[in-house]
């Protein structure tokens, strides 16, 4: 048997990330095993729930490595848990694919750590590119103070000037906040604002979107890839969400993707399988886990062995692997393997996703 480990935020504040991620892994392992495993060997998946607690994540990493003796780890739903367990995988020499957003995970590159989601910096770049196209140069930001929101805010502030964008209002809200009208009122009252960007995930962006429409602010609103799921539209409500743009992945627009798009097939397959099995809509986050698993399986197949060292090398040599998020090509100094092209600018229209451009 090949033992693969995962530690994900299946519960706790990031459970809407960890839950679909864990479900995806479970589903894919079943699938692979049903098809005869990898190189004839069955996969045994050992999953732990770290509840987004970095200390727990680290302990589970040790457990996976020392006690369960896995050959690779997928996990870290959040940046905090990922950074916490990295020293452990590094010391033990176990390949690890993170599902978290921050650029700090792969920059600087650590030998055993890879990741599948676009970085928050790329999300900023994608958004700013779109703003530039629309001739927007002065924006307000309202960010969640949780890990994802805070980190993306920082990245956005860093790259804004590259796109000639001025952030002239900078507000935030806590992870459990239920009302953002005061912050939005301030943004609204700031002179010259042309658009608003909201980095964050969870219920926050949905509330922001609703408050935005309550206050009658009719400037373009941008969200991050942190809310790229049908759930977001449902929560915000079709009306409030109308016209919101965000950088997303092919997964969300599986149905309207041109048939010749390289991702179409894989995206639709995953979507159908997941939605059938779990009776809930797919999310980008499950997609990250999907990609991580595919990358890992491909690497093990290629390495022809389940030696961690060999797997790591094989991952690093991955090239042109098509996933739900994009097409991955890793190298010794790129452990993300995606570029901006894999990001699609999406807009919500009539309660559904449409591709901008």
């Amino acid at each position: 048997d090949i033992k693969i480990g995962s530690t994900l935020a299946m519960t706790g504040p990031a459970s809407f990330l960890g839950d679909p991620e864990a479900k995806t892994l479970e589903m894919l392992v079943e699938e692979v095993n049903a098809a005869g495993g990898i190189n004839g060997e069955m996969i045994e998946l050992i999953q732990y729930d770290d509840g987004a607690d970095p200390n727990k994540a680290r302990t589970f990493a040790v457990r996976l490595i020392e006690d369960d003796e896995v050959v690779a780890i997928i996990g870290g739903s959040t940046t905090g848990t990922t950074l916490a367990l990295m020293p452990e995988v590094d010391a033990a020499g176990i390949p690890f694919i993170s599902l978290a957003g921050s650029i700090s995970i792969i920059d600087p590159v650590e030998p055993y750590t890879f990741k599948t989601p676009h970085t928050d910096r790329m999300a900023c770049q994608k958004v700013f590119e779109d703003m530039q196209k629309r001739g927007i140069s002065k924006i307000g930001m309202i960010s969640g103070t949780g890990g994802f929101g805070a980190s993306m805010r920082k990245q956005c502030l860093e790259v804004a000037s590259d796109y000639g964008i001025d952030v002239i209002a900078d507000e935030s809200y806590g992870p459990k906040d239920a009302d953002m009208t005061p912050q939005l009122t301030n943004i609204k009252a700031t002179d010259g604002i042309e658009a608003v960007l909201n980095p964050g995930f969870g219920q926050g962006p949905a509330i922001v979107t609703r408050n935005y429409s309550q206050l009658g602010i009719d400037l373009p609103l941008y969200q991050s890839h942190g809310v790229a799921s049908q759930g977001f539209i449902d929560l915000a409500g079709n009306e409030a969400a109308e016209g919101v743009r965000l950088p997303g992945t092919a997964l969300l627009v599986a149905d309207i993707l041109p048939a010749d798009d390289p991702q179409t097939e894989i995206v639709r397959a995953y979507k159908t399988a997941f939605e059938q099995k779990y009776e809930m809509p797919v999310s980008t986050f499950g997609g990250y886990a999907h990609d991580a698993f595919r990358i890992l399986v491909a690497a093990i197949e290629k390495a022809g062995s389940s030696d961690p060292e060999a797997i790591r090398d094989a991952i690093e040599e991955t090239s042109g692997l098509v996933g739900t998020t994009g097409t991955y090509t890793f190298s010794a100094d790129d452990h993300l393997g995606l570029d901006l092209s894999a990001f699609k600018m999406l807009e919500i229209n009539n309660g559904g996703w449409t591709l901008v451009d």
């Binding site: 459970s15 809407f16 239920a178 009302d179 009208t181 005061p182 309550q214």
Partner: protein
């Protein structure tokens, strides 16, 4: 001054949410001196059960009724199965039981339902109501109205009814309460039932605004607890005022000072109030002679 008005409206809405949770604490506290840390889970259950009942096709009022009744059942069961059997245990032990209960309820909810965030439609639409240059959602009126109604009900209950007095007597001196013929077990059941009902009602009212998921309970319980302490634990007036005040302080801080530190500002105010009034704004000073 439309900004000020907007901050105020926003503060009052959020404050009413806190007040509803704080009011829920009041009864169990008054009956047993226990701050029921599972109170937030009652709110969560109210919201989540409504979501799923509504999703299953029940009309909203029916879904809400189902949610409230189910939550009352959970509250009563909590009392019967956990609090009653531990009778006579130190108050800290009882509090830990309620913390355990909150973890259990959350754990079961995530299995029975799911871990996603949910919402159901506002009772009377989402069209913003303009108000002196600011806007307000119709659902906010429901929440504020709900908080006021619960407040009035509780206030009358504790000041005008013998049963209300029996509840207070039970917490004050359980032994004496038994001696005057109060069925203290029943008082506890009643208290948990009522608290659960108030909690669930809060959940039903606020979910269209705050959204809900299996784990919203802790956050709400925490804010409700802070609000209750600010107003003075056990006093419905305190719960109402404490909740509203907390909401307004947060909104004003977010609006005028820093949205990052609005929770901090709220706690700074609480600390300041407690230094001047160690029993909160309306807390009864208990007189124990020596």
């Amino acid at each position: 001054m439309p900004e000020l008005m907007q901050f105020l409206l926003s503060g009052l809405t959020v404050g009413a949410v806190y007040a509803l949770v704080a009011l829920g604490f009041t009864i169990i506290y008054n009956a047993s001196d226990v701050v029921n840390f599972a109170q937030g889970e009652f709110v969560m259950l109210g919201g989540m059960i409504t979501v799923f009942a509504y999703g299953a096709g029940a009309p909203l009022p029916l879904a809400a009724a189902v949610a409230i009744l189910t939550t009352v059942f959970v509250g009563v069961a909590l009392n019967k199965l956990a609090i009653e059997p531990a009778r006579g245990a130190p108050v800290v032990s009882l509090i830990i039981i309620t913390i355990g209960a909150s973890i259990l309820i959350r754990g079961v909810t995530q299995i029975v339902f799911d871990k996603q965030i949910h919402r159901f439609p506002a009772f009377t639409g989402d069209a913003p109501i303009p108000f002196f240059g600011a806007t307000l959602l119709p659902q906010s009126l429901w929440v504020v109205g709900g908080a006021l109604t619960v407040f009035v009900g509780l206030y009358l209950f504790f000041t005008k009814t013998l049963t209300g007095k029996a509840v207070l007597a039970t917490a004050n001196n359980r032994l004496a309460a038994q001696l005057v013929g109060i069925n203290t077990g029943w008082v506890m059941t009643l208290s948990f039932g009522l608290s659960a009902a108030i909690g669930a009602l809060a959940g039903v009212l606020v979910t269209p605004i705050t959204l809900t998921s299996y784990d919203v309970g802790i956050g709400l319980a925490l804010k409700g607890f802070a609000a209750a302490m600010l107003g003075g634990m056990g006093n419905p007036k305190g719960a109402l005022v404490g909740g509203l005040l907390l909401g307004v302080i947060e909104a004003m801080t977010a609006g005028y000072l820093s949205s990052q530190y609005k929770d901090a500002a709220a706690f700074v105010v609480i600390l300041a109030v407690l230094f001047a009034m160690p029993q909160g704004l309306f807390g009864a000073k208990s007189t124990e002679r020596v």
